[in-house]
């Protein structure tokens, strides 16, 4: 009975959290739309400078751009359409936004997932190698390597990737890896320093059983939280990297949308980016909190 109550409470909590996230995401999207709408250059197009246009055509162009003039009514229309699952049409690309997102999101998703995979693998390997070998050289080299990568501007990493024609997930993993390495390393150090692990070690338990039975279980919730955080980092990094590398993903789309002041596109792209980032961060939060509660 109590269990059931607890479960329903948890369910309600999660539901409330999700609703909150959605509201926050929509709020963020509308905020950025307001921003772009108020920025200079809204409703202006490069083609106005084309001397071939007649005065009437230029006027018509401007009228067309005036459509989103009233911000409040635009919001209202957008929200109503969103409730019906209609994301509208992009002003600059003249294509349904739903279709654009369907094409772009998988590209970014693919790069992010692959980049994360590589980064996690490398970070976990290097961190455990550094701790496992217990030699100062190995440890120092690992730390130096990750802090070198941490010190490289991500734009330089992206340019390097362009030069060696590396797929987009490579710069993403290069950006995520050093951060992950740091966290994983300190997590493992902390876990190894726990009294029960020390006791197990003192009793002569082998390295492998210690790792699998004692270290990993105690570090697991934090690692789970870290997974959420790292996803947010990777997704956040993917956006500028894609814009720089010109990969046909969300980053490129967002960059284009901002450059052409395409409000309907900006709203939706920000909505997606916000929701993904918020979800990843809340996942990390929840995992972290669950861990804290378990410890109590």
């Amino acid at each position: 009975m109590i269990k059931q109550e607890k479960a329903s409470k948890l369910f309600r909590n999660v539901l409330r959290r999700l609703l909150f996230l959605l509201c926050l995401g929509i709020g963020g999207a509308l905020l950025s739309a307001t921003f772009v709408r108020c920025a200079p250059g809204f409703g202006v197009q490069e083609r106005e400078l084309d001397p071939r246009w007649s005065a009437q055509s230029v006027e018509a162009l401007r009228q067309e751009q005036m459509l989103h003039e009233g911000l409040a009514s635009f919001y209202l229309h957008y929200l109503v359409a969103l409730a019906h699952g209609d994301l509208g049409e992009s002003d600059s690309l003249k294509r349904p936004i739903r279709e654009l997102l369907r094409q772009r999101l998988p590209v970014t998703g693919n790069s992010v997932v692959r980049g994360l995979g590589v980064a996690w693998l490398a970070a976990a390997l290097l961190a455990s190698l550094g701790l496992g070998s217990r030699g100062w050289l190995c440890e120092a080299l690992g730390t130096a390597f990750s802090s070198l990568l941490l010190s490289l501007p991500s734009a330089v990493v992206a340019m390097l990737a362009i030069h060696v024609r590396a797929p987009v997930f490579c710069p993403i993993s290069v950006v995520v890896f050093p951060r992950l390495h740091r966290y994983i390393r300190s997590l493992l150090v902390r876990s190894y320093d726990q009294p029960h692990v020390l006791a197990a070690r003192a009793r002569g338990l082998g390295a492998r059983p210690i790792f699998w039975r004692h270290v990993l279980p105690s570090a697991a919730p934090s690692l789970l939280a870290l997974f959420g955080v790292s996803f947010a980092i990777a997704f956040g990094a993917a956006i500028p990297i894609e814009a720089l590398c010109d990969s046909p993903g969300m980053g490129q789309l967002a960059w284009q949308a901002a450059l052409s002041r395409d409000v309907p596109l900006i709203v939706n792209v920000t909505l997606i980016v916000c929701l993904v980032m918020l979800a990843a961060n809340s996942f990390a939060d929840l995992a972290g909190r669950a861990f804290a509660e378990n410890n109590e």
């Binding site: 926050l24 905020l31 501007p153 734009a155 966290y183 814009a243 002041r261 792209v269 809340s282």
Partner: protein
Amino acid sequence: MNPLQKVAAIILCMILVLIVLATILVPTPYARQFRDVPNAGPSIAHPLGTDALGRDFLSRLLYGTRVSLLLAPAAALLSTVIAASLGSAAGFLGGWFESIVLAATDLSLALPWLFLLLTVRAMLPLDVPPMASVIIAFLIMGLLGWQASVRVICATARGVRDSDFLLLARSSGCKPARLLLRHVAPNLRPLFYAQFWISIPLFILTEANLSILGLGVMEPMPSWGNLLRGFEDFPALAAAPWRLVPLILLVTVVMCFQLVLPSQEVTQ
């Protein structure tokens, strides 16, 4: 301090001395164009060669170092002050204020600021001298870079709020403002320092990224990011390795900052 941290600190100090002396050391003004020798290699007159317009690369590097290293801490200070006031107030007051601050932080962490920066830039007035535009660029970075620290500070402030000594202070009739300034803030001070220190390299990197994208410091003012803009042409870099000096300097400084950081536990 371990030996590695000592080395890093010494390097940082040396670079600081260098930028203080930059005005004496620079061979020529950073914007002066020697049009007969564009893209020249190292020589006695131009120890690091010249750029595409014939400007002395060493002068630009020294000056750019100065711009980046003086303004990044300023931006870090600004963002830390914002984060400290918001975070400690939120943690201390709790309730709806905390929820709002945390929600705003979440949201602002999730927004793709890069694209919004593009529009922010367009809003600035035109007739500002180059130095002012540089300061504005860093100010904007400082204003937008507070989110990460707020969460940490808020969580710690929450811990302080529930502590016994604060309960004692409150029960003896201490006013909230005094509580915040006299009791909460001093307890959080190491955290503020740590956050400030971590932000510096972050802002250096942010400036570099923004300048590479063309959103940072304006020409002819040099900065590390601006000097890295010629990096698209890797084959030319291989032929002119001295062009790598800004990148090496940047990486060294950022690494040193990371090494000198206070203990890792505080930063997480």
